[in-house]
């Protein structure tokens, strides 16, 4: 695939041009907060390419914290009384500038949930398909980055249409897909970097990957049975500090669980899809009051088992984590998924027993 060279002097001009064909999203510093978020960029706004990881992941571009799925009226005089209508949505092309490679890889994991052979979530899928992902390679990974252990990495190309690499005065743009080529054209990125560009990317990639010190392994998790890990004796200790706040699930690029809620004002209403979290007791409570995951330990176990075991077994394509480290950084009580993964992976008691044999 082609590698282009963009002089940083021409960067703003290119983005301005791309604005004509795409709705642009990028990291923006949040005023007085000391962190950045992915936001839709106004006509003159530029993505902050120096930002480290955004506080929340960019998953909200296809999976907003709240989204109207349908609208309705309860007015009995209306012909459409109590009949759900899907509102018009704008799925014009959008480009996500400066997304980190592992955050883009996360979209591929979430896609497994929302785009299945039997059912397709049109809200997530339509938004996702409207996106062109212009990723920015991570030259200096943070101490919490363990993305190389999760099949992703600081220069991972999976899920991206263009990989940008910051070389100081230039960006190198590796065009990965037709969508990426179309974006490059709209931004008038034309200068080819040739083999020298590819070599430079390879060098920077090797250097970035070498800087990553955090790793996780899940080979042994893969070999163990679900029931063996589920019934393991370490969960109480793992879960003790947790306050079930759900921050980990909100900041996570791969957590997709949601709720459906109706909101009505007078006779007009909307059915909303909102973020939900396995950390909340309400997530699973039955009408009778019975709750299959009524305790904190059960909920913490669900989160880690889902990410590190159920997903692994279900799709046989790695864990449901891209190693961005957000949950570790944001957890108010320092629960560290790397540590939990390690505990699960080094667990061996009763490795091949199941409930039946006990």
């Amino acid at each position: 695939m082609k590698v282009l060279k963009i002089d940083k002097k021409d960067w703003a001009g290119g983005i301005q041009k791309a604005h004509k064909a795409y709705r642009l999203y990028g990291p923006v510093q949040v005023k007085d907060k000391g962190f950045s978020e992915f936001q839709a960029l106004g006509p003159d706004a530029m993505p902050d390419m120096t930002a480290t990881d955004t506080r929340l992941s960019p998953k909200s571009i296809a999976f907003p914290p709240q989204e109207v799925m349908m609208v309705f009226t309860t007015d009995e005089n209306s012909e459409l009384c109590n009949q759900m209508q899907v509102p018009q949505k704008d799925y014009a092309p959008r480009a996500i500038i400066g997304i980190r490679p592992y955050d883009a890889a996360a979209f591929l994991l979430v896609k497994k949930n929302f785009d299945t052979p039997e059912y397709r979530d049109p809200y997530w899928c339509d938004a996702y398909e409207a996106c062109t992902f212009i990723g920015l390679a991570v030259n200096t990974p943070s101490a919490l980055d363990f993305s190389t252990s999760t099949k992703s990495g600081p220069f991972d190309e999976n899920g991206l249409d263009v990989l940008l690499v910051d070389t100081g005065n230039h960006y190198l743009a590796k065009i990965l897909t037709d969508k990426g080529a179309a974006f490059a054209k709209s931004a008038a990125w034309e200068t080819e970097a040739g083999a020298a560009g590819e070599k430079q990317i390879a060098e920077l990639k090797a250097s970035a990957e070498k800087q990553i010190r955090a790793t996780v392994a899940f080979d042994n998790i893969q070999r163990q049975s679900i029931m063996s890990l589920y019934e393991a004796d370490f969960w109480e200790e793992v879960a003790f500090a947790c306050i079930n706040c759900g921050t980990c699930t909100y900041v996570c690029p791969t957590c997709w669980c949601f709720d459906i809620q109706d909101e009505t004002h007078a006779k007009c209403g909307k059915r909303m899809k909102t973020w939900d979290s396995c950390m909340y007791p309400l997530f699973t409570i039955h009408t009778t009051g019975h709750n299959p995951r009524g305790t904190k330990v059960q909920r913490v176990r669900q989160r880690f088992m889902h990410k590190l075991k159920y997903f692994l077994d279900k799709y046989e394509d790695g864990i449901m984590c891209v190693g961005c480290g957000r949950c570790i950084r944001s957890c108010p009580v320092n629960i560290d998924i790397r540590k939990v993964c390690d505990i699960m992976n080094s667990y061996s008691a009763g490795a091949d027993t199941c409930a039946l044999k006990k």
Partner: protein
């Protein structure tokens, strides 16, 4: 600080060995700089995991709610006040607790420190009132007083108010601190300014309820925001629902809040919800001379009635 840690280990080991308690609740070293993790220890051989330093801001009273065991608990000033509140509100019995009191010297605010350092922080050390941070080949020394949590800076109850044993000599309480400067700033605003202030304050809220869950006072079996029959509050990010949550939660803490700062620490989007609770703390102090969690023998102002109450509505 290592003297504190040594003493804590010694006390914890003795309590477990003598079977005075079933478990110790304290802190173990975290996996990140400036973070320690609440933990329990049941085996005397494991007491070496316990640590104490200026990164133990999490309120441990939150971890004893409705527990049945005999617990040895590490408690700094605010934790001890919340334990008192817990005992008064029947969330734990005094006899269940062996309180290892920690005279507190203030907890550092990791976000303040991170904001002052360009590189990613790799290590943080403390030596008396100096904090040394290092990372990315650079290092910097800060004065602890400049980077402690806002609630610690105005704290006048650093010493535990209730304990069975102390892990160190009592410290001198801070005097002449202006506890309510921020509240007065808001009080001085016009209604329109206040409206805007609170609107901006709550705008980033994602309704994750981390503030509520971190708060040792928020132990209702079903919080009003989670109630579905009837559903008092909507579940989306509608600003009215978000405000309703924060206002009601703050009022629910009136006369109970010890300003431990747990809510603000836990917030993933850096909302200072102490702007609400501090105002109610001030009102409780000025109207009733009340500070929460100082005594096991006095009922809090909002669950007592006096026949000579000056207000008409209550008669």
């Amino acid at each position: 600080m290592s003297a504190y840690t040594d003493k804590i280990k010694k006390i914890a080991g003795r309590l477990l060995q003598e079977c005075r308690v079933d478990m110790i609740i304290g802190f173990r070293k975290g996996s990140l700089p400036m973070m320690n993790e609440p933990c329990f220890i049941k085996n005397p051989a494991d007491v070496d995991k316990l640590v104490w330093d200026s990164n133990c801001g999490i309120n441990l009273a939150n971890y004893v709610t409705d527990r049945k065991e005999k617990i040895g608990i590490i408690a700094k000033g605010c934790d001890s006040r919340n334990l008192v509140t817990h005992i008064i509100e029947n969330k734990i019995k005094r006899e269940q607790l062996y309180i290892i009191g920690i005279p507190c010297q203030g907890m550092i605010d990791r976000r303040k420190i991170a904001a002052q350092f360009q590189q990613e922080i790799e290590t943080v050390g403390e030596q008396g009132d100096k904090i040394t941070i290092a990372g990315g080949g650079a290092s910097q020394t800060l004065t602890k007083a400049d980077v402690i949590q806002e609630n610690c800076a105005v704290c006048i109850h650093r010493n535990p108010v209730i304990y069975d044993e102390l892990a160190a000599e009592l410290v001198e309480e801070q005097k002449d601190v202006d506890r309510y400067a921020e509240v007065r700033q808001v009080e001085a605003m016009t209604p329109a300014q206040k409206w805007q202030f609170f609107e901006e304050l709550l705008a980033p809220c994602v309704r994750c309820y981390a503030c509520r869950n971190a708060c040792p006072l928020c132990f209702c079996p079903t919080c009003f925001v989670d109630e579905s029959r009837p559903q008092w509050v909507g579940k989306t990010l509608d600003p009215i629902d978000t405000r309703t949550f924060h206002f009601l939660r703050a009022y629910h803490c009136a006369g109970r809040c010890t300003d431990c700062g747990a809510c603000q620490r836990a917030c993933p989007v850096n909302i200072n919800m102490r702007a609400f609770t501090k105002k109610l703390e001030k009102d409780a102090f000025e109207l009733y001379g009340w500070e929460a969690g100082l005594s096991l023998d006095v009922r809090p102002p909002l669950d007592t009635f006096k026949p000579n109450d000056p207000e008409d509505f209550i008669k």
